[in-house]
Symmetry: C2
Subunit: 348 residues, 2 copies
């Protein structure tokens, strides 16, 4: 699925120019620029909901984005993609950090109502909490990112859209890759709070172990992120998990990290303990943050199609704001594996 | 200077609770919580402009923040600090990415006016451009981050606040540290577009070379970030500069990188070429992104006091919105050196 950035690139113009055309602000645009953009949109089959929809009274052309922390590289990348998609519709992004605190979530919702912002993307919060449900009932259009509904939710009772990577598949891909490279003793390193998306990743991981008839005992190494970790909590948690990984007997030959930041922190800790990745143990992360290419060694990771996911989230919000009878849906995106240097070419 | 986070930590409450007290939303707050917060504020001498100032008609309690790209870890850290400071005044942060494009800057300003947002922080853009000047003349309160005025600007003609690290001092600290560790042949690796802050860093670097009577010839190794680099442009540029650094004769024993991301990319490139940091060459970055602690080796860096700077920016905007007769000022913050493992304990 092409997005506004692809169109801008192909046409050789700025994103603003594409946005201007989409929003009919073309008085200052040259004919040749306009043609180039239209041609690029055609070629890429880019056909967004037209943005020039009248905004209802009291509604701002602003989408709220609530993330645990914008410093977490997974969420700064998400914010970037959401901003790009929103710009195509002439929307702006209002940012909130929840710090995984319920009162921050509540304050964010209140403030969005008071600013006339009626569409929000909620990333990695438990969307089933009362304050989100109440907000939806009061007219807030909510898209939940990376937090699927329980399988038992009937589709006609859904009040949120859910956009997520197929996390079960992500856990499966990561573990299966280690097995294909010859690993026989793999563990999963994670934050211990069981969110829906974490449970799914672990489920995919365990499926591989079952298929291989590997032992399922003590395969999950976990720790709690503490608020003292601050801005780099997932890196710090990875570092803190090092001692637990080192204490695992027999010592594993492969590790899946619940996210890349935790994986990079774990690599730092293992290195300090004299354990070399991938020589002594292979490592795969999940979510493919941009840094993983610059880690040492480069971190193999499972990648969500974040640009497409952002586009769908923004389009769902705008479509539902324009047509409140639209039913919320579930959108699941398949991940892919990005191979770098943190997995042995072929383990013993 | 304490901020809202420090108060929350010391009182053992959430940032929201402090914000609630500051904004007089105390109907649901227990007496003991209130006392704890007030005590913490006293102890830390935290005394913000009271936030419960009536907002003028048509003005949103929103601060706009325009950064080159939120994916750049320097700017996601900034966004985080600005959000924390803004929350203390019950303000929210509306995010814009300029991608260093003038038309994105213009579109951002237009949108802020149309959303009733009359205070913005502009990070790392050339604030002297016409569209910023016009916006200020039309009533936009602007704080420029990391882009000082030219020395020739008379203080009574200023129309923007400027909040910046002392970049000359930053370049000086980085180079001086290399010299103190015994380096005799140091270079400066940078993006080639000469912003004010980059010029100042280079100036500080060259001062050290002059003091040491080192040669000043071909000491700046530079390259242009291209838009194809995408989200990781500074890392990619560092990687791309590797060949130029390798071609420097005699081979340097110390490098100052204009920012940490460029430094980490350069380390990745040097490693691939068989050059070990710090064994073969020492490296110091500037801006101390959170990742630098997790680079291999940990990157020594020059750190701006970003939390204090964010607090001053937010307070300047709110103070000037409340009292338009206030004169814009220049606020310069001293950096400090953070030592890690990328500089040799003592070079030959």
């Amino acid at each position: 699925m092409a997005n506004i950035r692809d169109v801008a690139r192909l046409a050789g113009v700025s994103i603003s120019s594409v946005s201007n055309l989409l929003n009919n602000r073309i008085s200052l645009m040259s004919r040749s620029t306009r043609l180039r953009i239209e041609q690029a949109m055609n070629e890429l089959d880019y056909n967004p909901v037209r943005a020039a929809v009248p905004v209802k009274d009291g509604q701002a052309k602003i989408i709220g984005l609530l993330v645990p922390s914008i410093v977490n590289p997974s969420f700064s990348a998400l914010a970037h993609e959401v901003d790009l998609s929103a710009r195509a519709y002439n929307y702006r992004v209002l940012l909130g950090n929840s710090y995984r605190q319920e009162d921050e979530e509540r304050a964010f919702i209140e403030d969005m109502f008071s600013h006339g912002v009626l569409g929000i993307i909620v990333a990695a919060s438990d969307i089933r909490k009362t304050h989100f449900v109440r907000a939806a009932e009061k007219g807030m259009t909510i898209v939940s990112y990376d937090n699927r509904f329980p399988e038992t939710t009937a589709s006609d009772t859904r009040i949120f859209d859910s956009v997520s990577m197929d996390n079960t598949q992500a856990g499966y891909l990561a573990a299966q890759h280690l097995v294909e490279r010859g690993c026989k003793n793999i563990i999963f390193a994670t934050e211990s709070t069981l969110t829906m998306s974490r449970s799914h990743k672990i489920e995919g991981f365990l499926t591989v172990l079952k298929n291989q008839r590997f032992s399922l005992i003590e395969r999950i190494v976990e720790g709690k992120a503490c608020s003292e970790y601050g801005d780099t909590e997932m890196f710090e948690l990875g570092l803190a998990l090092t001692s637990k990984v080192l204490a695992t007997t027999p010592f594993p030959d492969g590790i899946v990290a619940i996210n890349d930041a935790l994986g990079i922190g774990l690599m730092t800790g293992l290195r300090a303990a004299g354990v070399q990745v991938p020589h002594d143990v292979s490592l795969v992360g999940i979510d493919n943050i941009s840094l993983s290419a610059f880690a040492e060694p480069g971190l193999t990771s499972v990648m969500p199609p974040q640009s497409e996911m952002a586009q769908v989230m923004v389009e769902r919000i705008i479509s539902r704001l324009n047509d409140p009878t639209l039913r919320p849906g579930e959108f699941l995106f398949p991940p892919t594996l990005v191979c770098r240097q943190s997995v042995k070419a072929s383990a013993a």
